[in-house]
Amino acid sequence: MSTDSTHGTHSAHVAHHFKDASQQYESGKEGIWLFMVTEILMFGAIFVAYAIYHHAYPDMFAEGAKSLDWKMGFVNTLVLIFSSFTMAISISYIQKNEQKKAVIALGTTVLCGAIFMVIKYFEYAHKFHLGLLPGKFLDVAGVGAEHANLGLYFGFYYCMTGLHGLHVLIGMGLITWCMIRTMRGDFHGQYWIPVEGVGLFWHIVDLIWIFLFPLLYLVG
């Protein structure tokens, strides 16, 4: 790779085993999509398990869903959708070489992730306070549960939201990393594939929440 400074101020830096920037970009993109497939299948499998137990114990699931506050989930849905929006526009800004705006958009995304986690924290704290714990830690008599295996519902609740929350945290870390590198000027109109990859990851996180919200909070 020689220096191709004729195109604006930037050119893509191409790793030695790629022929050109297009090949590098398309390869990176495809790799990210393949990784997203594994995310879909991993979360999807737990959704399948949910569906089967919902079928087996509909009343117990209804009881569990009632104890969740849909308002919290609702606000969190809006927060995540907004963060998905800011993530998407940050990539446009980088492609247009408007790094400052991109950094603001990325910062907003991280902030939204943080708000999501704070709300999640209050939700968890409230549940812990009420003794609504997963599995064997749920004191059936203590919380006055109608169904003896209500712990299964909360097992699903904590596993699904916990795994999702973990993804939010990882996503926040990755976006912060993108933000720092954007500030350093590593990303520009000819090289933005890491940001796009992290963006796709963040959208997947949003996508999963879009299904988790009705599944856990609304469908009783």
Binding site: K19, K29, F85, N149, P214
Partner: protein
């Protein structure tokens, strides 16, 4: 290097969606979220339809995110197939599990 014309493989030509599209999509997603909640308040009237309605709305939201935010609309055919594979094989997992459970004498515990 001589040129950076549109067919130089070393110069990327990103597809940049206009801001208005993102705003519209985000607006639609917000609206659909409100719609979910409104539908939720009519759960009693909807009866058995309540869950399907919630999931259809979620599906519409998901497809909006995938098409516009994740740019699947402008992505390569291979990547679209790759991503679709995830859902197809998930459906296989679901199908056989559901088939087994549906045809089984489900021995639910007395709990």
């Amino acid at each position: 290097m001589a040129g950076h014309t549109s067919n130089d493989p070393n110069v990327l030509q990103p597809h940049i969606s206009p801001m208005s599209i993102y705003l519209k999509v985000a607006g639609a997603l917000f609206a659909l979220t409100f719609l979910t909640i409104i539908a939720h308040h009519f759960n009693a009237q909807l009866g058995a339809l309540a869950a399907p309605v919630a999931f259809v709305i979620a599906l519409v939201k998901a497809s909006l995110v995938m098409t516009w935010f994740m740019h699947l609309k402008y992505d390569t055919k291979v990547n679209r197939i790759v991503f679709a594979c995830g859902f197809i094989f998930l459906a296989i997992l679901f199908f056989f599990n559901a088939f087994d459970v549906a045809t089984r004498v489900f021995e639910s515990s007395p709990l």
